[in-house]
């Protein structure tokens, strides 16, 4: 393939040179020797071909090379110096912009943790904002190294889009209504207008819910999340539906949050899970283990503040997590022993990330942890041990 590319570039160059010769008779003597000498255009043509291949590596547009499919992402990320992470900028708590214009949020911190573990620098992340409808193809084609954009893990997406790592947020779909609408339960939904984001599991759950309950509805569908909630707030719809965390997040941004109510009913399971492209097992493991580490850190009481002193802890599990004793798998993955410690010191443990955005003092809004408590506290958050 590269040979062909080189050949083509030479052809292009020589044809350009030839047409230049044909056009200006006076210039001909000057350009003639260059055309005759084959050694001159060859290196210049080969060089762009090489750089093209370098930049294409993360996208793995060049299919055949084993580096592209069999373990290239980590090397590509290291060579590039940044982690390309599919995220969003428009959902408070998960992926939003702060006053200074930085992209922050629960999902973004997961990317930062991976960047800190792999590159030693949590800032070495390039967040690519994706719409719900674009995120699947972006992961499928390998445009992003990692997708952390409140994606619900489903079997068909697992088969089509990429590898899903570990559930980082247990969510469920709910409904938000205007308090003055007089609706108190879903029985009164018949004939209602519902605003929903296109290309989501939400859209399908909504259809299933109304079908199962033999009710009709009118869907108003937008690709942009902002348009969906804008239309709902203006009154275009009676109801809007999404993951409950998202509804809480959006309500916090409304002009009058108290005028809206999130109904108690939950109609679906929405396990929000970061995902990586198919075909690179080592990279899949790396991202998974960073997620394990964040959850284990909370379990073991390792926080962003105390990670340095915990390195000399007596607890052997902490010692292993922080790379002070034994091998948690770093040598096989080609990482630093303290990679996980770096991740924790960059973004904190799971609980800290949660509380930063959605805790009682959270930047975005307050949402009780509910099922997102650790398994030791009666929640569902559980990760394999790091050892």
């Amino acid at each position: 393939m590269r040979k062909l590319l080189t050949l083509l570039s030479i052809l292009v160059m020589s044809s350009l040179l030839l047409t230049a010769c044909g056009g200006g008779a006076t210039e001909a003597p000057a350009s003639e020797p260059t055309a005759a000498e084959p050694s001159e255009p060859q290196p210049t043509a080969a060089q762009p071909a090489e750089t093209a291949e370098m930049t294409e590596e993360p996208g793995t547009t060049e299919g055949p090379a084993p580096a592209a499919q069999g373990g290239g992402i980590l090397e590509a990320v290291k060579a590039r110096g940044t982690l390309i992470c599919g995220g969003r900028t428009d959902l408070a708590g998960f992926g939003m912009l702060d006053d200074a214009g930085n992209n922050i949020g629960f999902d973004i911190d997961l990317c930062r943790a991976v960047a800190a573990a792999v590159l030693g620098d949590p800032e070495a992340v390039e967040v690519v904002p994706l719409t719900a409808a674009d995120r699947g193809p972006a992961l499928q084609t390998g445009e992003v190294d990692m997708l952390s954009r409140n994606v619900t893990w489903t079997s068909s997406r697992d088969a089509q889009w990429g590898n899903f790592t570990i559930i980082m947020f247990y969510d469920g779909q709910g409904f938000m209504i205007r308090k003055d609408s007089g609706i108190t339960s879903t029985d009164q939904f018949d004939g209602a207008t519902v605003c929903v984001t296109s290309g989501t599991t939400t859209e399908q759950n909504l259809a299933d819910f109304f079908r199962q309950n033999n009710m009709t509805y009118e869907a108003v569908i937008f690709e942009e999340t902002a348009a969906v909630y804008g239309a709902y707030e203006e009154g275009r719809c009676d109801i809007t539906t999404s993951d409950k965390s998202q509804l809480a997040s959006v309500r916090s941004g409304f002009a009058d949050p108290d005028a809206h109510e999130i109904l108690d009913i939950t109609i679906s399971k929405e396990p929000l899970t970061p995902a990586v492209p198919h075909g690179d097992d080592a990279w899949f493991d790396t991202v998974k283990i960073v997620m394990f580490a964040l959850i284990n850190a909370e379990e073991l009481g390792v926080t962003q503040a105390n990670v340095e002193e915990m390195k000399s802890s007596d607890n052997v599990n902490i010692q292993r997590l922080l790379g002070q004793e034994g091998d948690w798998g770093y040598s096989d993955l080609g990482l630093e022993p303290e990679a996980l410690a770096n991740a924790i010191s960059a973004v904190g443990n799971y609980g800290e990330i949660y509380d930063r955005y959605m805790g009682p003092e959270g930047i975005a809004f307050t949402l009780p942890r509910g099922p997102n408590r650790l398994w030791t506290n009666g929640g569902l958050v559980y990760a394999p041990p790091v050892k």
């Binding site: 547009t61 296109s198 290309g199 869907a219």
Partner: protein
């Protein structure tokens, strides 16, 4: 003679790689090879990349259940129906908005053009402002203004604006009182349809006879008479063919009447006004291109104003207007894909959802492109045939 000889000598004297004639051919051959090579390379690379990522390039998924809703489907659609059906619903929406848009934009554009040509200063300036406003704002911006600023800020359902008719305006759409066919209404429709066909036949046959023989065959009056008679006959036979359906507030929304959703209305008005501005300029340039002498001559032979317009100005103006008009119609059809931004579900936005739900980006995009291509080619074909018919007939 001497000069050509010297040129010949010169060209035979120089080596082939300096010969301009040969170089031109070589350059053509090389660029053809380069372009074809690049295309083959791109196709091969694409197939290899698709294979490496297990991206299926088949259309089998079109039979699977779609699972997603479509807002206000124009034909029967349930989420349990197939992706193919969903796609078809999108296509119907595209056709509806394009066809209604083309008709409305043509009428509006022609009126604006006539206003622009008017000697009435006020009318002229209003038309000028309309044209300059609409054609100097990007369509997407226009759509956002129409949808998010105007339609979304209409009053709530219970506080609807009522216009005579009654027409109700609210956030959920425009509700018009609309005639609906009664059970016997089909009799009227069929009879009137037959009448229309007969009238058209009578018109063309009698008109041709007049043109050939020069006798007055009263073609206009006769065909109009057929229309009226068939209409009245149908109406009487069917009793009451139509009943007016009034929109009434029931539950969350109005029921009955004809409802235009804010998404459709925004799209329709946006496309119509935007394209009408361009059409107005096309029509105006066409009319102004007709030589003044033609009009003066027509007046001099004693033709009435209507005859001047229909027999002299329009036949000549149309020859100039139609080709650029085809482009405007194609633009309007393709611009309808911007509906994605304001939630009107035409073929492109349904396609985007299908990509996400079925995970088949390449086949879906291929299908969307083919659809637009087919629509555009069909439109140009029809209009090109029309264009040929109105050209000068040379004997």
């Amino acid at each position: 003679m001497a000069s050509t000889q010297s040129v010949d000598q010169q060209s035979t004297g120089i080596p082939f790689y300096r010969d301009e004639r040969i170089l031109k051919i070589v350059a053509q051959v090389i660029s053809t090879i380069v372009i074809i090579g690049l295309l083959i390379w791109a196709a091969l690379n694409f197939l290899r990349a698709a294979e490496a990522r297990n991206m299926t390039l088949t259309f089998g998924f079109l039979k699977e259940a779609a699972g997603f809703p479509i807002s206000n489907p124009p034909i029967k659609y349930e989420p349990s129906m197939s992706f193919g059906r969903a796609f078809f619903v999108g296509l119907v929406n595209t056709l509806i908005v394009s066809v209604t848009g083309i008709i409305a934009a043509t009428i509006l554009g022609t009126l604006i053009a006539l206003a622009r040509l008017s000697t009435n200063w006020l009318l002229n300036r209003i038309a000028l402002v309309f044209v300059e406003f609409n054609r100097n704002i990007p369509l997407l911006v226009l759509l956002f203004i129409l949808y998010f600023v105007i339609f979304q800020n209409l009053p709530r359902v219970k506080e609807s604006i009522v216009w005579p008719g009654p027409i109700y305006l609210n956030q959920r759409g425009i509700y018009l009182t609309w005639p609906r066919l009664t059970e016997t209404g089909m009799i009227f429709v069929i009879l009137f349809g037959v009448g229309v066909v007969l009238a058209i036949i009578a018109y063309s046959v009698l008109r041709r006879r007049r043109e050939l023989s020069g006798q007055n065959t009263y073609y206009g009056q006769i065909s109009l008479g057929i229309l009226v008679v068939s209409g009245v006959l149908g109406w009487v036979l069917s009793g009451t063919p139509f009943r007016l359906s009034y929109p009434e507030l029931q539950g969350f929304n109005f029921q009955g009447g004809l409802r235009l959703t804010p998404e459709f209305s925004g799209m329709f008005i946006g496309l119509t006004t935007y394209t009408a501005a361009f059409i107005a300029e096309v029509v105006r340039s066409g009319i102004q291109a007709v030589d003044r002498g033609q009009i003066e001559a027509a007046r001099a032979v004693g033709l009435s104003t209507m005859q001047v317009l229909s027999l002299v100005i329009m036949p000549q103006a149309l020859r100039i207007i139609v080709p650029p008009m085809i482009s405007q119609y194609l633009n309007l059809t393709k611009n309808s894909s911007l509906a994605l931004a304001i939630g009107f579900q035409e073929v492109f936005s349904v396609g985007k959802i299908a990509i996400n739900q079925a995970g088949r980006a390449v086949p879906v995009f291929a299908l969307v492109m083919l659809t637009y291509l087919a629509l555009s080619l069909f439109t140009s074909l029809v209009l090109n045939i029309y264009n040929q018919r109105i050209q000068f007939v040379t004997r």
